[in-house]
Symmetry: C2
Subunit: 139 residues, 2 copies
DNA sequence: CCTCCAGTTGCAAATTATTTGCATCTACAC
DNA sequence: GTGTAGATGCAAATAATTTGCAACTGGAGG
């Protein structure tokens, strides 16, 4: 996937700060909060600002470069989106690592939706727990 | 389900404020944010305080009287829990009405969990959209 | 290359959401 | 009734997110 091209197509500029955010999330291989992202990104670009983080989370979501999820306790997490296709995640509560899988439970709901006349526009399916490594650490 | 009994068993007092919160959520038949709950509850008990709301959301969750969910845009919503069994929800983005169903997608993940060695401790599955009535309103 | 300007950033301040300390109050076991 | 652990109200502290605005800059078009 050509990042520069997708940005250009949406009329969005690829600024230094945006590169830093993308690289930070991609290299982290884990989901993090906006606050953590700020800290991590600050290492690479010290003067980066919080409002830039928040504004760009929206931008990167709209470009499809990041996924938004929650950590199971109400905090919102963001992770680099490494899959083109629709997917969901297992999220490790210890290290933040995300494992994506392509099963989507929405298809199983056809009957419920038909019966209730509910029209879905979005959904969320996340599993919280401990990855293989962190699970060991906790024994 | 006997509310007074479940409270007593947990050593939790059934105060007037807690009754107001429970009644507010039960009678609303919809999911709402802490802020909305404050407004609604204030009608019935004008001097109720925000800290009481927040503290009791935790209490009522632990007693199993309310469900927590999100509205799809990051806001946390709470609804009266009308089912004993584990379940998930369809949440109307217009009126907040929730429709619960008992299908749980976690069982479909056995293979993914086995393959990855991930140990789940919690999960979330919510569907956002428009209920039968609100869907009409939008045509 | 250079120029231009709409899109973007930094900063500071405003909002909004949530939590906490503490004195006072009250549900309820006895 | 009475005593007391648990709850509440209030105000103030935190934390999280958004916004206004002047200054800056990526990149399209010369």
């Amino acid at each position: 996937m050509d990042i520069e091209k997708s940005f250009r197509e949406k009329g969005v500029r690829l600024t230094h700060q945006r590169r830093v955010l993308i690289d930070t999330l991609r290299d982290a291989h884990r989901a993090m909060t906006a606050q953590e992202l700020y800290k991590e990104a600050s290492m690479a670009w010290p003067h980066i600002n919080f409002s830039t983080i928040y504004r760009n989370i929206e931008t990167l979501k709209s470009v499809g470069l990041i996924c938004e999820m929650t950590d199971g306790t109400g905090n919102t997490l963001f992770a680099y989106r490494d899959e083109e296709e629709h997917h969901h995640h297992l999220v490790c509560k210890n290290c933040g690592k995300t494992i994506s899988f392509d099963f989507c439970p929405l298809i199983e709901l056809k009957q419920v939706l038909d019966e209730t006349g509910f029209m879905p526009t979005g959904h969320r399916f996340e599993v919280y727990g401990y990855c293989k490594e962190c699970r060991k650490d906790r024994l």
